[in-house]
């Protein structure tokens, strides 16, 4: 038995696995907490749209001459601006959030393709596949540090604004009447989602990052009975699912990001069967 446990935990002796576990767990936890609000507001597609916008930001960074690792510093403000733009359209037009997200995501992604094409022929080649699908096992110490800092900052901000944001999620008009600054909190929520998505894109890629925000929170929402319990359960699922998927992918020698998302997906379908009615 001890030998089996040793064999299962053997990957932890390698630095790149520890970094992957740290980044994945941080992303799983912060994505889950954020996801509780995103899912409750019916903004599941938002994180997906912001992930595609991040591609535009990373491409702009590369066009401006940064390295692939440093392009995140251009992508961060770029994606936050896109998030604020989506929220502005939601608030000031009759278009729904999904429509606003669809417009901004398509334009940003197209701009990204254009930016990559405008790079000089002498520029270093870009691993577009890496941008799209990420590589959790290749997380650098710098990327891990950025992920951990963003996760801690976002969780701390959510701990402060969470009760008011929850009230605004329940009913924005009643919350406003109780003194909750609803529009400001909505802008903050989208900006925080943009931050998490950008650091997530660096680790699991454009295509899969929204799963960290949506799936654990959606799963917890199926079985939890209060917002606080849903948040705690979402974090457990996000971190646990990420760790399990990481180890499983290592031992089975299959794609890490995909295994993590499939693990989270399996938990979702399990919850669907045993959901509260």
């Amino acid at each position: 038995m001890a030998e089996l446990v040793d064999a299962l935990l053997a990957p932890l002796s390698q630095g790149f696995v520890l970094r992957a576990l740290g980044a994945g767990a941080a992303l799983g936890a912060v994505g889950a907490v954020l996801g509780v609000f995103v899912v409750q507001r019916g903004l599941g597609l938002l994180s997906d749209g912001l992930a595609h916008a991040t591609f535009g930001g990373l491409a702009l960074g590369l066009l401006l001459g940064t390295t692939s690792d440093r392009a995140i510093w251009v992508a961060l403000p770029f994606t936050v601006l896109i998030a604020l733009g989506i929220q502005y359209v939601r608030r000031h037009t009759s278009l729904g959030g999904d429509v606003a997200t669809g417009v901004f995501f398509a334009v940003s992604f197209a701009a990204g393709i254009l930016f990559l094409g405008l790079r000089p022929a002498t520029a270093a080649p870009v691993n577009v596949e890496g941008l799209l699908f990420g590589s959790l096992l290749a997380v650098s110490p710098e990327a891990l540090a950025v992920t951990l800092v963003v996760a801690v900052v976002v969780v701390l901000i959510l701990a402060v604004i969470g009760p008011r944001l929850a009230y605004a999620t329940f009913d924005p008009e009643l919350a406003a009447l109780s003194g909750v600054p609803v529009p400001t909190l909505e802008y903050v929520l989208l900006a925080l989602t943009a931050l998490v998505v950008v650091v997530g894109v660096k680790t699991v890629g454009v295509v899969l990052v929204s799963a960290f925000v949506v799936i654990p929170a959606a799963t917890a929402n199926l079985v939890g009975r209060t917002p606080a319990r849903i948040a705690v359960l979402a974090v457990v699922l996000g971190v646990g699912g990420t760790a399990f998927g990481l180890f499983a992918s290592y031992h089975l020698n299959v794609a890490t990001g995909a295994t993590i998302i499939l693990t989270l997906g399996a938990l979702f379908f399990l919850a669907l069967v045993f959901r509260r009615r």
Partner: protein, 247 residues
């Protein structure tokens, strides 16, 4: 006696349409007033303006001798359409506690529960304390929202068609509860309703709003002497057949 609401020349435009035009009337403290008129006449818009949720194009509304926004902590509000997020796991006690605290209670304290229970008792809904909001019937929902509105001991209560969607028995019970609370607490109340019976029974004054305040006075005067209103409310016999069904 100072006013609970003083509206002077209130004009509100929404989506390029004038919804309220030079509306002027007042409601005294402790007075029970009914706000009536056809659908689209501006009743809900007036309440929202009195809550500071809508900007005025011109004119002025003073609520409890201050601005609508400053008065909010002293005003209870029961909305017509319950716009809450049905996917949000909310119990009645949570909703009442949220209004009391100004934020969502991640954990209900004993004090929260006691405060919620006390107001639910007043509206005859004590058993609703731990009920999921999304599973309440129309009548239960109105009691829960009335309890929510009362938890901060308001001086003014604004109710927007609170018995819409409630059956006849539920309507009568709700109005009984409301009348009792208004009297005991000496609350100023503005009730938006289409029911002539509710107006006659509860209101000391009626404002008939159809973009402008077309009539304003005691129920008998407004209901009996204005042909338009008489027809609007009840046909010819003043039976309780609302102009627009409460349902």
């Amino acid at each position: 006696m100072s006013e609970a609401i003083r509206a002077e020349g209130v004009t509100v435009d929404l989506g390029g349409r004038r919804v309220l035009d030079e509306v002027t009337f007042d409601v005294a403290r402790g007075e029970f007033a009914a706000l009536c008129g056809p659908n689209g006449g501006g009743k809900t818009t007036f309440l929202k303006a009195a809550l500071g949720l809508l900007p005025l194009r011109s004119g002025r509304i003073a609520v409890l001798d201050t601005t609508p926004k400053a008065a909010r902590p002293r005003v209870g509000y029961v909305p017509q359409v319950k716009t809450f997020n049905a996917a949000f796991p909310a119990r009645v006690a949570d909703v009442i506690a949220a209004n009391r605290r100004g934020r969502w209670p991640l954990r209900l304290t004993a004090e929260d529960r006691e405060a919620a229970r006390a107001v639910l008792v007043q509206v005859g809904g004590e058993r609703l304390l731990d009920f999921a909001l999304s599973r309440l019937s129309g009548g239960e929902m109105q009691r829960a929202y009335l309890a929510r509105a009362l938890v901060n001991t308001p001086e003014l209560l604004l109710l927007d068609e609170p018995t819409a969607g409630v059956d006849a028995r539920g309507r009568a019970e709700f109005l009984d509860v409301l009348a009792g609370i208004a009297e005991r607490r000496e609350l100023a109340v503005v009730l938006v309703t289409h029911s002539a019976r509710a107006v006659r029974r509860l209101a000391r004054r009626v404002v008939y709003l159809h973009t402008t305040a077309r009539a304003w006075g005691p129920p008998d005067e407004v209901l009996d002497h204005d042909l338009e209103l008489s027809g609007a409310f009840s046909g010819h016999d003043h039976a309780d057949r609302p102009f627009c069904e409460d349902a």
